[in-house]
Symmetry: C2
Subunit: 479 residues, 2 copies
């Protein structure tokens, strides 16, 4: 087995043939079999045809598009394989990747000081930053993550390097320089709100230089979380977001001690907010917008959820992290019922896994733990289905990062951010051709398509993600 | 990459060299570096030497053992690799393997009728049984499971086939024909308690034929669970266990509806028990013994836990299953605090994963969910550590299946049931040699050994299990 990740442009027209699966609605997958999807040189889907094999596609679709027979690369899913939209990781710290799985029994605040800040600070070393960032991009692409909302560090050159590396690898990314000017170690914080702003502007300027249309890489304003930002910094970042119309990412209501700290640090007398809730602090600083990604939201009050919904801010649900750091169990159904848009985040290295598919799996499982403590013990309503978590992983995530008009489903006008998924087929003797080919997903042959998708969600890993494309460009391949 | 699983005897003396990690106590791992372990032709460890490289081993250990230089196969762990005891899966249904990951939103009782009974019944077809059982043995071996406590089906020939296949593959196994004579579909149940007993005896007799000393394969008396067994059947199985001194496996207290059903089916007036608790029903039938494996134990009462402890029965904790089927969150610390021995079970296909390592990971995570509802919100005490779940996966499991004197740690007199674990090493450019070699475990080089083990527990999969031995025999290899 070789893994190939390609650099450089790949501007051929493409015709994808076979089975396509994507989310039609929150709780409904659509299965298109024997279908054809045509993608132009810019990576945009220009045709989606049902009941269309290669012969028919050549006879009808290509002429209609005015494409010559030889001007198109044909990519066929094998029997049992399917194309699925690329995953969107709405929250992860690229800089923390080397620490995945290392927690001890810590919770958020001691984990930051013990494990996280020293590692992040060490990435001011360019060689180390290059090693770590190259690895995390390669790793997440291999798991089908076509778009990631990254936190880097406070360091501008290495944050810019992360943006450069994403662009080169072809991964769609939101890249944020981390802003933090208080309650952080001397060796790792911004000296003043003004310097934090200046460095943030420098990083934004760099990304505008390397990708002027911000079509693949986008800067994102990143106050780490309220406790590590002074009120002047929060306000200046709110003003910057207003000025630039750029997206914002931060954390909210992850852990009870953190929430108590926020309430203590930001009294209404200082913020001018009507109360000292976590959401109100951000709102008073102009940071609660429809372009804001709030990670976690485990312990929001009713009033906070209403405020988040009113402002149109989005939530990144990070179940692996919330369980591993013992933060709590986020009530996703309760958020969705309020009309709040939710996506999934790996939150490495609060989360341990680079895989959005694993985050989806844990979203299913954690929702069952939520059900144990709701409505007297086993509330059916709290449970998220396989279909629902796949929606969060694709279309939900797209809306969280502001790309709902461009990626997340297979429709004309959308861009081809996709993965080809293959499962293992068990032979009569109990063997699987190539053995590792299907990873831990074993199909015996009698399963329905929904069963196969469920098997993938429960046991799939990067071995099942055979190829990955972003804007029509092949960015990862296993062969 | 090729996967090789060897059949046939492998009776060479072996000398293992390198790093060895095993559980010294519930919360403590022991790391032996630059060590040597000698294993004789019968698979028994005859020497464990610290600070001993190959030269020293040849100069001192081999002469002391009276082994000639050429009579020994040398197996070296590479730098960063380590030998770890094989995992013990204390609860899984081999017959349900094709259904892993297929649940819908069902819970225990409807899941049995919708998904499980039809599949189990279908394995009366010998070809299908061979395919499924060959696959599950191969799959669990590849995840480092050196010993498994299997439920087969009610069918004797295919249950015997499972035993045959385990013996041929070299996997240590407890194999149980499932007993069930009520509240099950007409197409899949024992006609009478007497026929259930006769079939069980037939299966026991077969295993005594193929492995007379029961050194690798052992029969296990398997009343499915109380609701599917009549009181006469439970009592006759209790008597059979008393007569044969064989182990027993069944389920207990998995799901609230199941518990209510047991209370309704088995009133004290019928059982003669002091109450109608689930544990009392088994106790009254003579099934609660120190050789009994009770799967789940999610909702035990204090009195039931005390009874289980008094009888010396063991618990198989199955966190993946309990979360997926929304059964609940078992309080493992609470069980351990009562002196109850616990191991881990994948419980396929109530559980979705073939991996005991994944069960260990979920045991960590579920213990955090238990902590959320204990002692006002975040009880440190409930949390299981990486070290503790590895204990459950090896030494705990060994005690659960009655093999604590033979496997689970690296000491003279124990048998060599072990796996060689390898992690990925990230190069300066962010690549990993061979790419898939380390699976999802990336080591950057600065991690401590406990950090490396934690990374393995959180992100490891079968790609990290390079070789597996049972009683000194190589039974699985990736290369």
């Amino acid at each position: 087995m070789r893994i190939v990740q390609r650099n450089g442009p790949d501007a051929r027209r493409k015709l994808f043939l076979g089975s396509f699966v994507h989310c039609k609605a929150l709780d409904e997958l659509e299965y298109l079999h024997n279908a054809a999807v045509a993608v132009d040189k810019e990576g945009t889907i220009v045709a989606v045809e049902r009941e269309c094999d290669e012969v028919r596609a050549r006879e009808t679709v290509l002429p209609r598009l005015g494409w010559g027979e030889d001007e198109v690369e044909v990519v066929k899913a094998r029997e049992g394989q399917f194309f699925f939209p690329g995953f969107i990781d709405t929250h992860l710290h690229a800089s923390q990747y080397p620490n995945v799985g290392i927690f001890g029994k810590s919770t958020l605040l001691d984990w930051l000081n013990t494990y996280t800040f020293p590692l992040e600070a060490s990435l001011a070393d360019p060689a180390r930053a290059r090693q770590v960032y190259a690895r995390v991009i390669r790793k997440t692409l291999s798991h089908g993550t076509t778009c990631a909302a990254y936190y880097a560090t406070i360091d501008v050159p290495s944050t810019n390097l992360l943006a450069d590396l994403c662009l080169a690898a072809g991964q769609r990314a939101l890249v944020g320089r981390v802003c933090m000017d208080q309650l952080s170690p001397d060796y790792y914080r911004d000296a003043t709100p003004e310097s934090s702003l200046a460095y943030t502007r420098a990083s934004i300027a760099h990304i505008r230089t390397i990708d002027p249309s911000l079509s693949l890489i986008r800067p994102i304003i990143t106050p780490r979380f309220a406790p590590s930002c002074s009120l002047p910094l929060l306000r200046q970042l709110g003003a910057l977001a207003q000025e630039t119309r750029l997206p914002i990412q931060t954390h909210i209501s992850e852990n009870p001690s953190e929430i108590a700290l926020v309430q203590q640090l930001f009294p209404p007398s200082a913020t001018g907010a009507p109360d000292n809730s976590y959401a109100s602090v951000y709102d008073a600083a102009g940071l609660l917008t429809e372009r804001t990604i709030l990670a976690h939201a485990v312990h929001l009050t009713d009033a906070e959820a209403d405020l988040v919904a009113a402002r149109g801010a989005k939530i990144s649900h990070c179940p692996c992290s919330n369980s591993a750091l013992a933060s709590g169990a986020a009530r996703v159904r309760w958020l969705l019922d309020r009309g709040i848009v939710c996506g999934l985040g790996t939150d490495m290295s609060g989360g341990f896994s680079p895989s959005v598919l694993e985050a989806a799996r844990h979203a299913v499982l954690v929702s069952r733990h939520v059900s144990f403590t709701t409505a007297g013990g086993n509330s059916e309503r709290e449970k998220l289905s396989v279909e629902e978590v796949l929606f969060l992983a694709t279309r939900g995530g797209a809306e969280v990062v502001g790309l709902e008009g461009r990626v997340g489903k297979f429709e004309v006008g959308m861009e081809w951010d996709a993965q080809l998924v293959g499962l293992g087929v068990v032979g009569e003797d109990g063997g699987v051709g190539g053995e590792d080919e299907g990873g831990n997903v074993d199909v015996f042959g009698w399963e329905s398509w929904p069963d196969r998708v469920a098997k993938w969600v429960y046991n799939g890993d990067d071995r099942n993600t055979k190829r990955v494309w972003v804007r029509g460009r092949l960015v990862h391949e296993r062969r």
